[in-house]
């Protein structure tokens, strides 16, 4: 990891922008072409901002949990894992686009087929989950090789994932929508983007569910 130069860093960033951007474009194309462009920008942005925002925290946690990595190395490890995820997402994007192309457009008044709607959502979630799992398995292997201890590697991965969930979840909340609602205008950011947080919303939905 010490030998990785600027060119490789730029290459990883490019792959993330390209792969996640393609997947984002496919995702947004369900609503409108403009939404496809917006999501293509926002998805890689979340990945890069999460990697950067958690860089210091990840570099602090790694040695404390048993993997002796510097700031540069931990940032690189996270970036490499996101690159793997982006490559997989990029590979899935033609399939997702084809699926969406065969589904009625997500716009007000359109005849919505509940089955195809659910299928698209399920496929999107499955693709993202697969990419995330594959990337994290590789990251775990890398951490295990670097530390020589499977237990330390698992602890560091868990710590990093918790941090990524916290920051990534909130960034995704702020940069919503990604697919868009048929009853709302297509826009880059919602007017209330900076109001509330992802975890409050989850909590409120759960509270509503259990109060019924």
């Amino acid at each position: 990891m010490e030998r990785v130069g600027l060119q490789s860093w730029l290459f990883y960033v490019f792959v993330i922008i390209y792969g996640a951007g393609l997947f984002g474009a496919s995702l947004g194309s369900w609503r409108a072409p403009a939404q496809a462009l917006y999501t293509a920008i926002k998805l890689p942005l979340i990945i890069l901002l999460t990697s950067l925002g958690n860089g210091l925290l990840n570099a602090t946690l790694a040695p404390l949990l048993g993997v002796n990595l510097s700031l540069r190395q931990s940032l690189l490890a996270v970036l490499m894992s996101f690159t793997i995820a982006a490559v997989i997402l990029g590979g899935f994007s033609p399939i997702l686009y084809f699926l969406i192309w065969n589904t009625p457009l997500l716009e007000a008044g359109a005849t919505t087929n509940a089955f195809s709607h659910s299928l698209v959502l399920l496929c999107e979630t499955g693709m993202i989950a697969f990419a995330g799992i594959a990337a994290n398995v590789r990251l775990l292997q890398l951490l295990g090789e670097l530390s020589g201890s499977a237990s330390s590697a698992r602890k560091v991965l868990f710590g990093w994932l918790a941090g990524n969930l916290l920051l990534g979840g909130q960034l995704a909340w702020m940069l919503r929508p990604f697919v868009g609602s048929p009853y709302l205008a297509v826009e880059f950011l919602r007017p209330n983007a900076m109001e509330g947080n992802f975890f409050e919303a989850v909590f409120n939905h759960a509270a509503k569910l259990f109060s019924k």
């Binding site: 990891m1 010490e2 030998r3 950067l52 925002g53 958690n54 210091l56 925290l57 990840n58 570099a59 602090t60 946690l61 790694a62 040695p63 404390l64 949990l65 048993g66 993997v67 002796n68 890398l142 090789e145 670097l146 530390s147 020589g148 941090g163 916290l166 920051l167 909130q170 960034l171 909340w173 702020m174 983007a193 900076m194 109001e195 509330g196 947080n197 975890f199 409050e200």
Partner: protein, 250 residues
Amino acid sequence: MNDANPNQPPELPPLKSSATPGSPGGSRPLGEDPRDREAISGPLTAVEAMLRNPRRILYHLRQPGPGHVLFALLLIAVLCSLVYGVVVGTFSGNTKLWATPVKMAVGLVISALICLPSLYIFSCLSGAQARLSEVFGMIAGMLALMTVLLVGFAPVAWVFSQSTESLAAMGALHLAFWLVATYFGIRFLSAGFVHFSGNPTGLRVWVVLFLLVMLQMSTALRPIIGTADTFLPKEKKFFLKHWFEHLDKA
């Protein structure tokens, strides 16, 4: 001819030996490993030692004239708590941008000073061979590690500060970050205690006291996150009562 499989990823370079990075434990005596004896020249070296080889900090605290290490650790603790304080203050803005960092740094140092005598007494009672300066050094190290971790959490805290108006949610988030940081700080302290041949039972009691003091300090110096007309509160309150009042409002 190259026999290597082109689909095979390149082999990773040989691992650097790092027995137990980040973990200050280990049964070997301090200073046995040459890396323990490497000089600590300033705050940045101290941060690096704290994260990668905490035994180095403990070793230097045991040497004659540990003043420069103590100073470096305290400086880290104060600077990092000021930085994190600014981030906490961005939730309310205006005067909180200077008031919160000041309160956090002062609160942290006062809490440590309040708890220092009890830790020294517990360490003596439990048979630890540590002088007051060494005990002070361990507390300073704990605070430095806690605040360095808090600075790591700062970008996440800032993003949430800018996007939520819920005081209770922000309070819970900062409390969670503080608890994680305190866990690692206490782990450093416990390892130091073991190296000084102390029985950890006394330390466990002290940890509970320290946590209570810190939590009460956050209430005594309130508001840390929200706003008020005065710099310090006019009314005395127990921290649990303060929390429940805010949860009721939320």
